[in-house]
């Protein structure tokens, strides 16, 4: 398994744990209002699950198992692959940070962090599709 896939897949398991932790927090907060401020745990929970776990696992396994692009560049651009990893994880972490900053520190700063996180995630998705499209083909 190539190093990039190992990073994707191991990170996806970290996010799976984080997903369930945030799920517990959301349920506990709904019942006893233990989290001070206006932290919105539920959207974080869904994004950790669908982006951090599902999509990241797919990206990792896809990078590993999809048909090779060419003999010289079997996984097309390795550099773009690593950029996808950085953008996806950076964007996701900014989304989580934005919720915390928005609720506890500076609301406007949190909003901007969320917008930047959204942009990074969009770039990650676009770069993954660009790097993978050419590998999805018949024999």
């Amino acid at each position: 398994m190539p190093p990039l896939s190992r990073w994707f897949i191991k990170s996806s398991f970290v996010y799976l744990v984080a997903t369930f932790v945030s799920g517990v927090l959301a349920v506990v907060d709904a019942a006893w209002d233990v989290i001070p401020g206006a932290v919105q745990v539920t959207p974080v929970y869904y994004h950790l699950f669908m982006l951090g776990w599902v999509s990241q696992l797919i990206f990792g396994v896809g990078n590993w198992m999809f048909p090779v692009y060419s003999r010289e560049a079997p996984r097309r651009s390795e550099r773009l692959g690593w950029a996808v990893y950085g953008l996806l994880n950076g964007g996701l972490e900014l989304l989580v940070l934005a919720e915390v900053v928005r609720a506890f520190a500076a609301e406007q700063a949190g909003h901007w962090l969320q917008a930047v996180g959204a942009l990074l995630l969009w770039l990650a998705g676009t770069a993954f599709v660009a790097n993978t499209w050419g590998r999805i083909r018949g024999k």
Partner: protein
């Protein structure tokens, strides 16, 4: 990779791009509001990523890598899988458009029925291929 998997996975990648774009617009608009009407894309964003990206991708990869027969046709009767591809993509838009334009819930129900039919068609194809080495 067989032709149908190429269609499934490339269509899934198209929906990934569309879903991430809608998600990016929604999140950025939530962070820095510039177009309140964008909030209408939320249901579409969820439908496209859950069904269009994730489920479609899983079907495409399953059709490709699940065990094949020693004899032709190696993937058995493929009609269920082809039917699933058509129904799934019809169902996505049959659900998504009414959610976007606030059409009657009847249309969403029809869309969900079409998606369920897609799942049934795919299961019909993949069930006999879900076997061990001994068959």
């Amino acid at each position: 990779m067989p032709a149908l998997s190429v269609w499934f996975v490339r269509t899934a990648l198209f929906y990934l791009l569309l879903g991430f774009t809608f998600g990016g617009l929604l999140l950025s608009n939530k962070g820095v509001p510039y177009a309140p009407a964008l909030w209408r894309l939320r249901s579409l964003h969820i439908e496209i990523l859950m069904v269009g990206w994730f489920i479609q991708f899983a079907m495409g990869v399953a059709f490709w890598i699940f065990p094949r027969w020693w004899h032709e046709p190696r993937r058995g009767d493929e009609r269920g899988a082809y039917l699933a591809y058509g129904l799934l993509n019809l169902g996505i838009w049959a659900v998504a458009l009414p959610l976007l334009f606030d059409w009657s819930g009847v249309f969403v129900t029809i869309g969900r029925v079409v998606e369920a039919a897609a799942a049934l068609a795919f299961a019909t194809h993949i069930w006999p291929r879900t076997v061990g080495r001994e068959g």
